[in-house]
Symmetry: C2
Subunit: 158 residues, 2 copies
DNA sequence: TTGTGTATGTTACATTGTAACGATAAACAA
DNA sequence: TTGTTTATCGTTACAATGTAACATACACAA
């Protein structure tokens, strides 16, 4: 799994590929990637950072695709519940998934300086969490693993 | 470390002991456990569950200890920043720390049925997170590890 | 056609969180 | 004592985030 780190990357390509992946998966599973849902995913991919629901809504308004909060929340819920986007609890914000299609336990690194958010491989952390929970008889269904700190560009090295 | 699981326990004792611990630590470190801060900690301990800031505020209002949101948020911020309480991002809520004084990476199990929240040992999950972050050159300062699922009482066994 | 289900549109409101500014109180030096 | 500093507290006013409820539109099957 490519960690999609803090380095620069071919953004146009990553967008197009994520969008194609989403379309493919929706076709497969009979999910409806409606214009609003598709556009919200595009917005998240374009921005390539965590956006609040109201940030997304502003874009939708500007494009006459919807003007009220529920429109944005519904589209975001759809994207999140099918794994095309993730919710960052810490920020009350949403971000496009970096690895659509792959089963993965998301795990986010949030830079407190530049607000960059990166999705890191979280398999091991999630597994450790499941084990700790199992010890207490707790059955984990969903996890939210988030770290706040300094990204390479903002860190002590910089 | 006693996991303080989902079992029943001597609540009066756990409250008194946590409060004593907080007083001791504040005395040591020169922190001021003022009446409002102390009372908010007591409220969290009494309830023994995650409370929203406005829930706490209601108690404060009833007791004439403060009536406006900032009063509750300040006290909660104090408690959180000194490790006497934790914020549950997922719930926008706060809970008294189950292990005051001990250095620990908090990790929370949230039951989606009964809303119980339990603090589980999260050392390993936090460590895994730190390692994954280090791979990307990210320096972790704070972590939020939260799991949603079913507690033993609400689970398939029940 | 008539239902049925899904998605959308909209209103109105609930909940959560903060900036800003002044008042108060304790600690301490001049 | 007086002035100064610092932390805490009180309050207003508002910003930001999220949802319940109900109406509408459209596709597709019975």
């Amino acid at each position: 799994m490519d960690p999609v780190g803090f380095e620069t990357h071919d953004h146009a390509h990553c967008m197009a590929s994520a969008l194609a992946k989403a379309e493919e998966e929706c076709a497969e599973k009979g999910l409806q990637l409606t214009p609003v849902r598709r556009r919200v995913l595009e917005i998240l991919l374009e921005q390539h950072r965590a956006l609040g629901a109201y940030d997304v809504l502003e874009h939708l308004r500007a494009e006459k695709l919807g003007s009220q909060p529920p429109v944005a929340y519904r589209a975001l819920d759809f994207l999140v519940s099918h794994g095309f986007a993730h919710r960052i609890e810490r920020l009350n914000a949403f971000i496009a998934c970096s690895h659509p299609g792959e089963r993965h336990a998301p795990c986010f690194l949030i830079c407190r300086e530049c607000s960059a958010v990166v999705e890191a491989p979280g398999r091991q952390a999630a597994q450790a969490l499941r084990e700790a929970a199992a010890q207490l008889g707790f059955g984990v269904e969903r996890v939210a693993i988030e770290a706040e700190g300094l990204c390479p560009a903002c860190g002590p090295a910089a």
